[in-house]
Each structure stands twice: as C-alpha cells, then as structure tokens.
C-alpha cells in the first residue's frame, strides 16, 4: 500500500498525474482516507494562492504605460 511519504512526494513534485492507472488510483485512494496528506494538498494550494497574489502585486506596480514604453524603446 502506498504511504504518506510517497504520496507527499508525488504531490510536491507534480508527478501524481503522471502515474500509471493503478499507482494513480492507490495514491488517490490514500488521499481520500488520509487527513494529513489532504492537509499537504491544502498547503500546496495555499502556495499557489500566495504566488498568484504576489504576481498580482508585481503587475499592479508597473505603470499602465509600461508596454508602450517597451514599444518605444524598441522603436516599434
């Protein structure tokens, strides 16, 4: 039976979806019954949420004319 370490590694390396049928199924089954590993999935989702929030901040800090300035500097 697949254990927490293996499931955690598959989740964290983004390799869960790349697993073959049976391995994928047992990993999903493990996730269904393991609260700790589901906690990891929520942490990873939180990281994505955090990354998107930081990305939005970067987008807001650059002026609306940024693309125009790039065009001008490239003489386009």
């Amino acid at each position: 039976m697949i254990g927490c370490r293996e499931v955690a590694t598959l989740l964290s390396t983004d390799q869960l979806g790349a697993q073959s049928g049976w391995h994928w199924f047992t990993a999903r089954l493990h996730l269904a019954v393991c609260r700790s590993c589901r906690g990891l999935t929520r942490q990873l989702a939180l990281l994505r949420q955090a990354a998107a929030a930081v990305d939005a901040q970067y987008d807001a800090e650059v002026g609306a004319d940024f693309v125009d300035r790039v065009h001008q500097n490239l003489a386009l």
């Binding site: 293996e6 955690a8 700790s36 929520r42």
Partner: protein, 197 residues
Amino acid sequence: MAELNQMGQEGLARLHQRDAAALRAVVEDMARPLYRAARGMGFSQPDAEDLVQDVFRTFMETIDRFEGRSRVSTWVFGILHHKAQERRREFAREDAHDPIDDVFESQFDGTGGWTTPPVDLERQIASSEIAEAIGGCVDRLPAALREVFVLREMQGLDTAEACKILGRTVTHVGVQLHRARTRLRLCLESKGWKGSR
C-alpha cells in the same frame, strides 16, 4: 497569449520579416508576464524593466532562429532565463544533495507515515496578507529553485513548458519544485500560519 501560441506559418513568416505589427503583438502579450517573472526572480523594479527590454532586443536579434516548434512564450521566457543567469552571474550550480531533503524525510517514520503532519490550513486568507507572508520566504529561496517556482506557480506554466525554458528534465524540475515548495511550506508554518487541524 492564446493567439501567439497558435501561430501558424504565416505568423512565423511575419516575425521573420520583422513585421512591426507582429512584433508589437509579442510585446503586448509578453511584456507584463516577463516583468512579473523577473520581479519574482528577485530583480528590482528598474532591473526588471531593463531586463524585459533586454529580452525583447535579443528576441528581435535572434528571431531567425525561432522555428515555431515551441510557443513564442516559451522562447521569450527561455531568453529571460538566460539573461537572468547572466546578470546574477550564478550558473545554476546545484548541489545533488539539498539539506531540505533531510528535513522532508525527517517528517516521516520508518513506515512512511507522517511524524509531523502538515498544518491543515483551512481558513480563507486575504490576498494581501498571504502575499506579504510569502514574500520574505520566496526571497530566501536559492535562485534555481526560485525560478522554477516563479515559472510554475506565479506564471502558471505547465511542467513541460518550464522544462523547455530551463533546459532541464521533468524529473529535475519536479525535484526543484518539491524543494522550493517544502522550503516555502516550512517557512510559512514558522511564521505561524496555523489553521485548524
């Protein structure tokens, strides 16, 4: 980016001819994502802006080598990757063994079960709060891990595209993403991001 990513032979020919409208379309689609990625990699605002200009200059100089076998976005992110490496003068020297691997392993017992389960973060968190919390954690990531995290999580590129951009294998990118995520999770936990368990 959708239009550019579905570029056909006609679009490619226009780029090779330095057609101004085609080049402007690339700039319009990619300038802001490139800027955000450069900021995510740790460059200051002025340096990130300068880097974007530099990427497009190189894009225009090397456009004849672009054969349309990858997306335009992959091509320009690849230029950004090389420019960022040049500027950091940090050539992705990476230890085969990262101490964070030991930290990760120490979270499991001999049977592969968690000894210290991840904190279950169930509460909804304001974007500004979470952005502030993770900012310092991302700054502490080694450059190579930070770059993978930025491309995958901030820019939302899939693993295959990140591999093309960075010139690394799926396994390598997976390991780097895992190391980045493990460091960031532990960093957030150390900042007291404790939800209900």
